[in-house]
Subunit: 408 residues, 2 copies
Amino acid sequence: MARINDNYLKLKAGYLFPEIARRVNAFAQANPDAKIIKLGIGDVTEPLPQACRNAMVKAVEDMGDRANFKGYGPEQGYLWLREAIATNDFQARGCDISPDEIFISDGSKCDTGNILDIFGKDNKIAVTDPVYPVYVDTNVMAGHTGEANEKGEYEGLVYLPISAENDFTAELPNEAVDLIYLCFPNNPTGATATKEYLQKWVDYAKANDSIILFDAAYEAFITDPTLPHSIYEIEGAKECAIEFRSFSKNAGFTGTRCALTVVPKTLKGKANDGSEVELWKLWNRRQSTKFNGVSYIVQRGAEAVYSPEGKAQIKELVNFYLENAKIIREELTKAGLTVYGGVNAPYVWVKTPDGLSSWDFFDKLLHNDNVVGTPGSGFGAAGEGYFRLSAFNSRENVIEAMRRINGK
Amino acid sequence: MARINDNYLKLKAGYLFPEIARRVNAFAQANPDAKIIKLGIGDVTEPLPQACRNAMVKAVEDMGDRANFKGYGPEQGYLWLREAIATNDFQARGCDISPDEIFISDGSKCDTGNILDIFGKDNKIAVTDPVYPVYVDTNVMAGHTGEANEKGEYEGLVYLPISAENDFTAELPNEAVDLIYLCFPNNPTGATATKEYLQKWVDYAKANDSIILFDAAYEAFITDPTLPHSIYEIEGAKECAIEFRSFSKNAGFTGTRCALTVVPKTLKGKANDGSEVELWKLWNRRQSTKFNGVSYIVQRGAEAVYSPEGKAQIKELVNFYLENAKIIREELTKAGLTVYGGVNAPYVWVKTPDGLSSWDFFDKLLHNDNVVGTPGSGFGAAGEGYFRLSAFNSRENVIEAMRRINGK
């Protein structure tokens, strides 16, 4: 009989967001009149920028004209999009990233999971705790861990706790690790990283020949001009870091699907025979073999993000969500809750009151106020006692959710 | 230092199509006036059906309206699309496939590679020879093989030769294998499978507890009413087969990106402890964790394939390419070549003349006639001495390519 990948059996319960959906659906069915406001999953709610829509309609029209029709595109993405990204997201900030180091994909969730394909089984892997669950689950599925303990921590992973005590920025590991996941602005805590802090990580990675997997999906929410948007703003990062970016949260592409991964040609990994191998070549082979590029229509939409109108519309969109985050912070503070994040980030990280567990607070908020958030414990053992609220919703819903929580 | 996945180093040269692109680009640069006609890669050339374009423009408009805006969709795809597929592609042909057994994805290339995620390392795997290279390369990358020999055959894989002698339909293996890749109508040979032939495979798979990975990407090209379009038309297939389908070749979605995979809930695999595990659950977990669904806009385009206008437009498109295939068959036969396929399939499989190797014939056709095909040896050792021509091009280009080859 065909053998399954037994590593899947190590995974605990469902993936976090399907479990939330399950509880919300059950509540909604039992309470059909409840007006549920979702501040749980980090999903955008506002219309796609006009510039992106115009570009996509034009691209659909191209597809109807034999002369402009596009079949298979480059698996790495169209050069015009990669050039726009290299110029605007990297070179404009002093990062020496070239278009051929950029790989367009259909999502950062996919890429942060798929990147493990090119790495071996014997790497020591570090994640923060709490952390975006996909980093952990994909390592479990790839057989890079043992079983989970009762707290949900998997044997073999190095967990770096982040909490109010360390300002939600992990300490460097005491041991040498090979792969390190970092995410700034952080999901779920909304914390940010200074250049000085990231420099410590880059120095550590270079000293230990580690690779940093840097998730910058929320960089557009940075308003503080002293904070870096890209790991490549840090000296030496091109020798030790892969960066993931997405159009999901800046341009509202969660349902449109486009992202990118930067693999500098200067990155190396070690083969069994001790030789050093370019990671770019491996990722390029992976994408050429197991991926067929992103829809031409969607890539044209992403390109429009870099037009003057696109830039203005995206700024407006991001500011809109940031104002939501500000309202959430202020109102929860008024309600007597302790809050973190929500500045330079679309997530507010709340300490649950009265020693409630994260899921108990989830159920309380759902049942009493009909507001959906995300239990901190869903992001890791050290997230227990915390709760994430997302700024992705209409102004009206955010104000109404805060009114309910505040009991006004 | 971070360890790489050493299995990548076993891969021979580049993936086939990038290598073709490299040779064609070199020739084009050296011969800027040459009017190259590409009948190589199986990429469509004709405009996207009007029904699909209308639906996508409407979907882009939805994205501009807060009330209709779509963020993250179900990782498995929208139910309306899965229902249309279940009804039209399966239930209408007597196959008892339900919408929740269908998973929408961005491509069959991705899915045929990614499916290996849910299987273990110790499976015996069979492929035909020649074969679509992605099946082999993704097994190499996943560590399911040893090294390749000088013919390019990987240690550990079971190769089932297909040739004119067995009518391009492989014999059943002499040994028990766990996973079997089958593709009908076949890429690259254009061969088809009768119900009786597929019944033998299903019976074999059930007797040996094997899983058939059935690639039906070209089913729309079947015109013979006696031939099955889906493996699920075969008695017992729901207990032993996963089916891959795509909108690439029927609706011209190679650059638009949409496909689907059917994983019946009746399929089982064996865990290390001997227990049986539903493959559906594993694939659902894989897709929920490492994928975020296909663009809403693209899914609306795919849905339109099943509208009355969509069906009519797709039929016209497929007939157009089938007429091209007929012309290629007839003209090459006139030129004295021996040809196979090209009926119920968009590929014509040509015996190279004068004992030329596949790549020599590729270079000859490129240099003498400025026509690009695909060397049979690129699909496996047993493809040596064959050559694939694709019917995906304009009528004008097909006629002109045949004129050149015929020396008229």
